[in-house]
Every structure is written in C-alpha cells, then in structure tokens.
Symmetry: C2
C-alpha cells in the first residue's frame, strides 16, 4: 500500500514546531537556531521527507518544467536534439515534458494547450510540416511566454531561433561535388514550407552559380516526405526521363540520398564512379552503407543543448528576450565518405 509521503506538517507535528519553522530550517534560513535545524533535518531524513514539487509550483507559479514539441521522436536528428535538451535541463534541475506532433498542426496546438495548463516554464518547439500559419506561436510570444524554436524556425517577430547553417552546409556539399568533377547535380529538395528547405536549396544554387555552372530548374525536385522509397522513386523517374543524365545527387536529407543511391545502383550506375551522392544530417547509417554516404553533419545534440541553455537563461531572467535580434546559428560539417570521392590522391 502506498504510504502517503511525509510532509512538512508531519515533521512539524513530530517535533511540536510549526510548519514555517520546518520550512525555514530545511532551507537554512537565518533566524532558526542551529539546534532546531539539526533536529529538523534529522527527522526529515528519518521520515524520508521529499518536498512536494506540485505544491511548490503552485506557490511559486513556477514548475521547473519545460515543454518540448517535436515533429517525431523516431527520427535520428530529433532524437539527438532531445538528448541535448534533456542533458542540459537535467543538469539545471528542470524536467522535460515531451510531445510529438506527428507533423500534425492540430496536435501542435493541443500540445501547447495542455502544456499551458501544466504551467510549463517555457517552450521548445520545432514545428510540424503542416504548420504554415504561426498565429498560435505569435500569441504565446506576445503574452510573454518564453519560447525557443529550433531547427524548423518561423519567420515571425521576436522569435528566438536556434538553427544550423543550412545554407552553408548545402553550399559546402555542392561545392565538394563540383570539386570532385561532378557537373550535373540534382537537388532533391525538402518540403516547400520549411525555411530549412529553402536555405539548403539556396546553398545548392549559389554554389553552382559561383562555380559557373548553370542552374537547371528541372534538376531541383521536391522530395517532401523524406523516405528512401520516395527518393528512390523520384530518382528512377529522373533517370528514365531526363534527356541529359545527371551525374550527382545532393539530397535534402540522408533518406532521400540513400533512395537516390539505391535507384542509381539499380539503374546500373556505379557510385561514386558514375554518380556522386551527398546527403544531409549525417545519420548513423551513413558510415554503415556501401558505399558509405557523404553527408552534412548537423550538430543535433549541440543544438538541443544550446537552445535549452538560452531558454533557461530567459526563464531565469539571466538574459533578456530582446537580446536576440538574429538567430543563433550553429556550424555544420561536411563528412566526406566514399559516395562522393571520385578524385583519389
């Protein structure tokens, strides 16, 4: 049978003291005699006293809990972000309550509501693919709720955004392919409503331009879902329909890239000899497949950690919301592997 946790009142009764004295004694407040403090602490220990965080939250209107809203948990990149969030939150004494939206805006909204009900101290959000209207976030910001966006960030006033340098990552990846002698580079792009998709596409385009390679619209194809199957299908179609066969694929994510790789292999093309491939995100499997997949590393853990640091600093008023007029951008790193190495030294 669950024994009701000992409370301050129980200790008070035991020692014939008032609740306030117990509270202060436990907190080492001045004005309590050393003797009393000692006794109180002993009894607390003996009774296995554990402060009731709920009561504390009610009193202080602070829950020491942050809410994380994420599209999917079963996603390598996001899981690394969660890990970073959890790590920092734990070390600073906060709880993390987690919900996934499964890319549905309705779940996003309802999660916000339950979290508000739960008096969360702040939000960390990466919004869903369905989200095109940011009204529900703007309202929160206006009302002064601490909220930090990561990875998928909105373009709205006063939003605090932590992101990866998608533009540079894509630029590097594309430049690398060019440097390896690939010229006809296809970009499998991401969903149109995500800023990260645009940034990556822009990096790709700029790299081509800066190397004097014409940008062909038919070489930019949307791979919105981001599964290997989708990438494979799209690539297959391209290979059988394009008059001028591409010699490289730059995927907006690793899944699409791996799909492209499979399609190329099936089409009898050798990777990297005939076709070069680079992905984005550097999922675990990149080094396990054959040929190993070059990819742009996104620092997910660091992103989660940094975003949480910022959120907690805001919550604790160590920094001011207005200090952020531009996003916090983390560096990517191109991991060159065999799928794009054509020039051997």
């Amino acid at each position: 049978m669950k024994i009701g946790q000992a409370t301050i009142k129980d200790i008070a009764r035991e020692l014939n003291l008032s609740a306030s004295t117990i509270s202060r004694a436990l907190k080492d407040y001045p004005g309590i005699s050393e003797e009393t403090k000692k006794k109180v602490k002993e009894v607390a220990e003996k009774m296995n006293y554990r402060p009731n965080a709920i009561a504390l939250s009610l009193r202080k209107s602070r829950s020491f809990t942050i809410g994380v809203i994420i599209p999917e948990v079963v996603h390598f990149f996001f899981s690394t972000v969660i890990s970073g969030i959890e790590e920092v939150a734990f070390s600073r004494g906060y709880n993390v309550i987690l919900t996934q939206t499964n890319e549905k805006i309705e779940r996003e909204k309802s999660s916000i509501n339950t979290m508000l009900s739960n008096q969360i101290d702040g939000f960390m959000v990466s919004f869903s693919k369905e989200t095109e209207d940011f009204e529900h976030f703007s309202k929160l910001i206006e009302q002064g709720y601490p909220i930090v966006f990561f990875d998928r960030v909105p373009d709205i006033p006063h939003a605090i955004n932590v992101m990866v340098d998608d533009y540079q990552g894509a630029y590097d990846a594309t430049s690398h392919l060019i440097s390896q002698g690939y010229q006809k580079i296809v970009h499998l792009s991401g969903p149109k409503n995500l800023k990260i998709s645009h940034e990556r596409a822009r990096g790709y385009t700029d790299a081509l331009k800066n190397h004097g390679i014409p940008v062909r619209p038919e070489y930019i194809v949307e791979s919105a879902v981001g599964t290997p199957d989708e990438g494979k299908e799209i690539t297959k179609k391209l290979l059988s329909s394009l008059p001028d066969l591409p010699d490289a694929f730059f995927g907006n994510n690793d899944m699409a890239a791996v799909g492209a790789m499979l399609a190329c292999k099936e089409h009898g093309l050798r990777v990297p000899e005939d076709v070069g491939i680079v992905g984005f995100s550097n999922w675990q499997f990149c080094s396990m497949i054959d040929p190993s997949l070059s990819s742009v590393f996104q620092p997910g853990f660091a992103m989660g950690a940094k975003a949480t640091e910022v959120l907690l600093d805001i919550i604790e008023k160590k920094i001011d919301v207005d200090d952020f007029n531009s996003p916090i951008v983390l560096e990517t790193e191109l991991m060159v592997r065999n799928s794009s190495k054509r020039i051997f030294k």
Copy 2:
C-alpha cells in the same frame, strides 16, 4: 508582458458568483441552473480560461503525468518505444516526462527522486546496463507506486514486465541461418547483466542443439557496448584467431551485426555467399545497407503502447497489480534480407 492566466476566481468576480459555482458550472455538475452554466461558460471562453493543472494536481494528489526512464534517447529501438508511450499517454490525457540515464545507475536513482517529488502518477522504466541491484525499484513497488518495466526487465517479485520474446526471436534467427546451410554460427552476445542477453543467447543455443549442432563456447563472444566498431573489432579478432573459421554471425543487436559484416567484407569474405549475418532489432538502416541485413524485428512502438496501457490501467484502477504474475510478451518477427539468403528458390 505575460498576462496572468484567468482563474476561476476571476470568473467568479466577473459574474458575482462564488468560486464553487464556477467550478461546478464548468464541470456540468447537477444543481446548477442551465442559465448560470451558460453564462459561466461564455465568460470562461471570453477570458480564455484554462484550468490550472498544478492546482488540480495538488488537490487531487494526481498529476496526470507519467515518468519515463530510459537508457538513451538516441537509440532507434528506444525511440520507437518512446513514440508508442507518447502516443497512448497523449490519447488518454497524460503527460510524459522523460529522462535518460545514459546507462548510469546514479542518474537512474536521481531521476526516480525528482519524479517522486513531482508527484508522478506512475513510472515506466527500462533500466541501465549498470543496474545490477534492484533495491531502488523494489522499494517503489512495495510502497505501491505503479511501475511498469519494459524491454530490460528485472527479476524481482511483483514487477510488471513488458518484453519481447527474445528467446524465440533468437531461436528463429539461428534456425533460419541453419536452414540456409550455415553451420558454424558465432553469437555476438549482449551485456551479461541484462536478461535479454541471456534470453537471446539461450534461443541461439537451443536452436543449435535442436538441429544437432554442437554448441561451442568460443563461438559465443560478448559485445557489450553494442557499436559497429566494437562488433567489427571482435569479428576481426575472431577471423584471425579461430582455427575453424565461422560461416555465420548472429548479432545480439544490429550494430554488432553490421560491424561483423564490415569485418567480413574487409577480410575478403562475401556476404551471404561465404558468411551469413543476422542482427536483432531491425533498425531502419537494415534495408539500406548492402547487402541488406536480415534482422529480428522488435515491436518497439507496440511495446511502448502496451506498457503504457497497462500502467494507465493500473493507475486508474481498471486492473489490479496482482493480475500480473507473468510478463507480457510480444512477438518478434524475423525479417529475412540478403545478408542471410544463401538458398535461392
């Protein structure tokens, strides 16, 4: 500026009614006139009233929150479990607070403490590799805290365990290898203190025995960490030291199996012609690597969902703790892919 959320008192003041009436009106309690109910609800709507879950928790000694303690978030299998947990919890109106132990028993214990402080309604636990003494869990069970273990389950009285049929999965995998003509099958086993490791090893051993193949102790090697690198190293050593070369590897997990595959390839062995390989867990990358990796599918999502159902049923007293005298076991499924297909039909 954050506007203090409207409370029941605010509505009461607005309508010149008492807090109790508001509370009852909002809950459609009998004994409140339809007219009042209507007015109250309108005003609540207008003031954007949102019940304070913290106050409710304090009053009811129920937080509608469950605590999940998991070894790692960045782990395909566990992330699918979390997803299942989150899904069921959300649909039944519960929050999920998540902590990862990073395989450290100290974090496990301290997580339990903060969760207890937070008046969590119940626990879901998969313990760390370091955990060998289950005292801290036994105590919780004795005190009547609802707690459900999943995947890594303890062998202690009254524990409610949800697990996968590791024995059968391993048995199937090994039998499959035998049916494909492999005879000298190495098992890369898991950490010794996890029951799942024993079960998988037992399935492997029994399959050999039942097919009249002698079990050789030197063919069972511990791959405790479970990374591709470790699997690769171990396999390399085996290939260069064993006088009688093995012709198959059954990995306790996919990472070890992939390591074995890489080592075999480097050693000039062809997969599956010379060596057959089967993993365990069916991680996403299994179908993406070349050759694709056969693996035992573990229903992670279903496990998380089932475990949560049970936990919530216990919390809500829909079922009794004593109804569980044996673990809930979920079926595995062998996914045969190219890494172990030697007999072509």
